[in-house]
């Protein structure tokens, strides 16, 4: 085995498996630390309820095998380019309509997603990615770093940028966190974070003044074991509870001790409230017994008791990771895409049961798409990719953005089957921020490069009813 193909060689160049929860930190721009907290939105305490659900596919989803051209001419191009990775034409689930004169289909295993699309509850956005400004092939080849997002093709950098909206500098403050900073007053209940994570700490939900409230997909919020016991016979736990209360109910002078204790006290209080509300929450819709579906079930149960919790705006985050398919992409996607599709179907059904479909928008993110060309049986890091968005407020049954030509050496293809995105994540995210209640004047703070792609006050892409 003396000749190693270039693709395999590149595939072995340091690629981390992304199956773990996204616990990310990165070097904060020092100015961001010192900046004053963002002013709250002018919107008053909302009478209505809205939730954003961010579904992250860590690793880089090979999304040109999720959303696939199916008319003969474009399928032929697809098959040529993707060679041994091309899905059989007859297996694709046909989507109605066209985009860029192409008829499209969805991966054969994604039956729920297909149905949601046909019922107009789900849409795709095509060839989206991180961009500082609209970028051409010539721009890319002139290799001027200033024009391009930092660390293109690097997991940590790109993943960060999809979560921060800052492709031009390193930041670990997420746009979900910033939104919560801006509009947290819209929630009557200030004791539980607007941002709830099913996958632990993450950049997306970290703001200047906001951190996520992390809960467990199966058990809900995490409480102190043995706390709150009142049984007479259990002296140990009763004394434990009493002592913990005494330790926490104190105004520590020392600022380090105070900070330490405050966090625990907030956690204890939030848990009591959260657990109590959740215990009243019952959903009839059944969910599959896997991490992703259970996460969505927990989200649905939380949404079901939003009135009890007295919250009007919530942002949820769940990371379904493991998409870094340098090897065995066909089999891996065959295993994982149906899990994703089924979970979305179950979640939508639960929202229908709650009569809250219009109020919840679920959207997917992934740090990049993958190379159109095969490296043997897998694909490597690329750039532009396809995402999906689901909800009653979504103008579904359409593909937004421009589905690209999959011809090698097209105007957007920069070598190795990597496509320059034609839609910026800024446009994608900004539309959801507007829907959620952020005013258009504040979009520039969230997404500093947005004005390179969109100006005005209407919807950047038009997939949501704003």
């Amino acid at each position: 085995m003396k000749n190693i193909s270039r693709r395999k060689f590149i595939g072995q160049l340091g690629c981390g498996a992304m199956g773990y929860a996204t616990l990310y930190n990165s070097l904060i721009n020092m100015k961001a630390i010192n900046a004053a907290a963002m002013a709250n939105s002018a919107v008053a305490a909302a009478g209505d309820y809205k939730a954003l659900v961010c579904l992250m596919q860590s690793g880089g989803n090979d999304s040109f095998n999720m959303l696939v051209p199916r008319d003969n001419a474009s399928y032929q191009v697809y098959a040529n380019t993707r060679s041994n990775l091309a899905l059989p034409q007859e297996d694709l689930l046909a989507l109605k309509g066209t985009n860029n004169s192409m008829q499209l289909g969805v991966h054969p295993s994604m039956t729920a997603v297909h149905q949601l699309f046909e019922d107009n509850h789900l849409a795709f956005i095509s060839n989206v990615g991180t961009l500082i400004q609209p970028t051409t092939k010539e721009d890319f080849n002139s290799y001027q770093q200033k024009l391009l997002p930092l660390g293109l093709f690097s997991h940590s950098d790109q993943s960060q940028q999809w979560q921060t909206g800052f492709p031009h500098e390193r930041s670990s403050v997420g746009w979900g966190g910033k939104i919560a900073d801006m509009i947290h007053d819209m929630n009557t209940n200030q004791r539980i974070s607007m941002n709830i994570s099913l996958s632990g700490t993450n950049i997306f939900q970290s703001g200047q003044n906001t951190i996520e409230y992390a809960i467990d997909p199966y058990n809900g919020s995490v409480g102190i074991y043995g706390y709150g016991v009142t049984d007479e016979w259990n002296v140990f736990d009763r004394m434990r509870t009493q002592a913990i209360d005494s330790l926490l109910e104190y105004n520590y002078q020392d600022i380090f001790k105070k900070t330490y204790a405050d966090v625990i006290r907030d956690s204890r209080d939030a848990h009591i409230e959260f657990e109590s509300a959740l215990s009243q929450s019952v959903i009839g819709t059944s969910f599959s017994d896997n991490y992703l579906s259970k996460s969505f079930e927990m989200i649905a149960r939380t949404i079901a008791v939003q009135q009890t919790l007295n919250v009007q705006r919530q942002i949820f985050f769940v990371d379904y990771g493991g998409w870094d398919h340098h090897d065995e992409v066909l089999q891996s996607q065959q295993d994982m895409l149906p899990v994703l599709s089924t979970a979305l179907g179950e979640f939508y059904a639960a929202l229908q049961e709650l009569n809250m479909t219009d109020q919840v928008t679920t959207f997917s993110i992934s740090e990049f798409g993958r190379t159109l060309t095969s490296n043997g049986n897998g694909t490597d890091h690329a750039w532009g990719g396809n995402v999906l968005v689901m909800g009653g407020g979504v103008k579904g049954g359409k593909v937004y953005g421009t589905y690209p030509s999959l011809e090698l050496e097209s105007d957007l293809e920069i070598g190795g089957g990597v496509l320059i995105p034609s839609t910026s994540v800024d446009q994608y995210f900004a539309e959801m921020a507007l829907w959620f209640g952020v005013s258009s004047s504040e979009l520039g703070t969230l997404f500093p490069n947005l004005s390179n792609f969109y100006s005005g006050t209407g919807a950047p892409l038009g997939f949501l009813t704003i």
Binding site: G14, A17, N209, V222, I224, Y225, D254, Y260, R268
Partner: protein, 596 residues
């Protein structure tokens, strides 16, 4: 507070006409002490009898000071070690530590792995299921077993090694999870170089295949214009940003320099990264493990069958030729070997005036306090710049400067409201493990640490990314940020992890499992025998725990809360219950979690 006795050990001055006599602190020559009672309760090993009271023997002061010193200098200490350091003196004990020879985690990891494989095969496992090497789990087992059995001579080394692993970060949160030998071998660079020279450490890190994989300069090719291949910039960026000089020009005291308009001054630009990337080209694996695919290593070979425990080697054909102008406009001449290029680049970074304050301040933050005074940082920088014998980068000098500085040692510093830090969750775990007797049926301290990692976010080489568990300048929201102070460890103290830690403490104390493993070996449990005799009187028990964990700073309020919790426990095995509850409450209290 009892520790005050050390700081204010007073001179008893006799009348103005007589000579000055100093009593106490061991000075008792020629004194006879008569007391009205010299009753000694049976079975009590320590008493405050008349002689000891006057002469100050057994006063807690020196012990508390030693305990506090050990909490800065090591990953945990038991009563015996605390007493030893109290008797010997911290500076002298530190000298002994700095003179010790390193012991390593890799051999322990591999030995444990062999045992696991042997057991696997003996229990009917198929040899084709045995991989080329251990996973991350064996590294965790090896780390903990080494920690628990490595002996006193390694104490300070282990603390410094952990701190270094949080600066020169690689992580199991990557494909390296399948390379337990690579992880252990990499970690041993810190054991090897903790008391050596910083330049050697930087070079060792740059050449280790685990780092090569993690920051992708393994198999990094030179420029090939026709194929649009350019040297990967990942490592070049991070070796500057994180491992040596940082983002901005620094003064000796750690503050950022400003230009005429008051702006911070970047240490390097994009072109510097590109050029430095050219230096780190051509490195590939130096060998392979026995396998059926390749006979030997070559440039481009991935790590799957690679030797991950020996440095990478240079493949000249793949090294970028030509001169490279790197940071500070320094020109590396063309025409020399790849390794010469690398050595020169490393030396250039090493000589940058930023290294002392950039690395020194972070080590202070890991070991002593989050907000050292500029003067403290400057003193440590000076020790880095010159150890007193003209050598730059002598880690021994840096460690002495950090641990023996007045700001680390004296009570005046301790009293300052901005002094202190949140103890890292992982160090709370190691402190508990080393303060008290733990038992395992076969004396195997194989700790997978997975539950703890999940609960708190920390495990050795378990950071979420190359940016460590927390950023060096993190400011938690609230009074700390309001006072423009820094407290990095709070970045992983959130609603989930704060309670996660508490529940781990519950495991150690109430549920009685301290360390678990996935190899069907018996777990490690707490042995309370040493403490149960003290539990009849909660005051006495708390005095002991104060020496072990809070170094004399257990507040009256916390003390009284714990006592009130213990007193109603009077039935059954009440002393054991009291010990467990006392430990639990103390270990979750702010008095313990915050180190002053």
């Amino acid at each position: 507070m009892r520790w005050l006795l050390l700081c204010s050990l007073s001179l008893l001055i006799a009348s103005a006409f007589a000579q000055t006599v100093t009593l106490g602190g061991g000075n008792c020559n020629g004194i006879t002490v008569l007391t009205s009672s010299s009753y000694t309760p049976p079975n009590w090993t320590q008493t405050a009898d008349g002689y000891k009271t006057i002469c100050g023997d057994g006063l807690d002061g020196p012990r508390m000071d030693a305990s506090r010193f050990l909490a800065q200098a090591t990953l945990g200490a038991n009563l015996e070690l605390i007493q030893k350091v109290a008797d010997e003196g911290s500076a002298q004990w530190l000298d002994e530590q700095l003179a010790s020879q390193p012991s390593y985690v890799l051999p322990v990891t591999m030995s444990i792995y062999q045992e696991i494989v042997t057991n696997f095969l003996a229990n009917g496992g198929d040899s084709s299921d045995v991989g080329y090497r251990p996973y991350w789990s064996a590294f965790q087992y090896g780390y903990w077993h080494h920690l628990m059995t490595g002996g006193e001579s390694q104490q300070v080394r282990e603390r410094v090694a952990l701190a270094l692993s949080e600066i020169f970060v690689i992580s199991m949160n990557s494909d390296l999870s399948g390379f337990g030998d690579g992880l252990a071998s990499y970690y041993d660079l810190f054991n090897k170089n903790a008391f050596g020279n910083y330049e050697d450490l930087l070079m060792d890190v740059a050449l280790h295949p685990a780092m090569g994989f993690y920051l992708s300069h393994l198999n990094n090719p030179k420029t090939i214009e026709e194929e649009n291949i350019h040297p990967d910039e990942n490592f070049a960026r991070e070796i500057m940003q994180l491992f040596s000089i940082g983002l901005y020009e620094l003064n000796e005291d750690g503050s950022r320099k400003t230009d005429g308009s008051g702006n911070w001054m970047p240490t390097y630009g994009q072109q510097d990264i590109k050029n430095l990337a050219k230096v780190f080209t051509g490195l590939g694996l130096s060998g392979v493990v026995p396998n059926e695919y390749v006979d030997g290593a070559e440039f481009g070979l991935g790590i799957w069958v690679g030797d991950m425990t020996h440095p990478m080697r240079m493949y000249e054909d793949w090294h970028e030729p030509g001169e490279k102008i790197i940071v500070g406009n320094y020109t590396i001449a063309s025409g020399q070997s790849g390794m010469a290029d690398i050595a020169e680049a490393i030396h250039t970074l090493f000589m940058h005036p930023n290294v002392g304050p950039f690395i020194g301040k972070q080590l202070i933050q890991r070991m002593v306090t989050s907000n050292p005074s500029p003067a403290y940082v400057a003193r440590v920088t000076q020790a880095f710049n010159d150890n007193g014998q003209g050598e730059r980068g002598d880690m021994k000098a840096v460690i002495r400067a950090i641990l023996l500085d007045p700001e680390a040692r004296t009570c005046a510093a301790l009293e300052s409201p901005t002094h202190g830090k949140l103890v890292e969750p992982f160090i709370r775990y190691t402190q508990f493990s080393q303060a008290l007797p733990l038992e395992q049926y076969d004396n195997k301290f194989w700790n997978i640490g997975y539950d703890f990692w999940e609960a708190t976010g920390q495990a050795p080489l378990g950071a979420p990314s190359v940016f460590n568990f927390f950023l060096p300048d993190y400011q938690p929201i609230g009074p700390i940020a309001q006072q423009s102070l820094i407290a990095p460890e709070f970045q992983i103290h959130n609603t989930k992890t704060s309670v996660g830690y508490i529940n781990q403490v519950n495991n150690w104390t109430a549920s009685n499992y301290v360390m678990a493993n996935w190899e069907d070996q018996p777990w490690v449990v707490l042995n309370t025998d040493e403490l149960t005799p003290l539990a009849r009187d909660p005051e006495v028990l708390l005095n002991r725990l104060d020496v072990l964990f809070t170094h004399g700073q257990l507040t009256d309020r916390t003390r009284s809360i714990i006592k009130s919790a213990l007193e109603p426990i009077q039935r059954g095995d009440y002393r054991d219950d009291r010990v467990r509850l006392a430990l639990y409450l103390l270990l979750i209290s702010p008095d313990y979690a915050i180190f002053k």
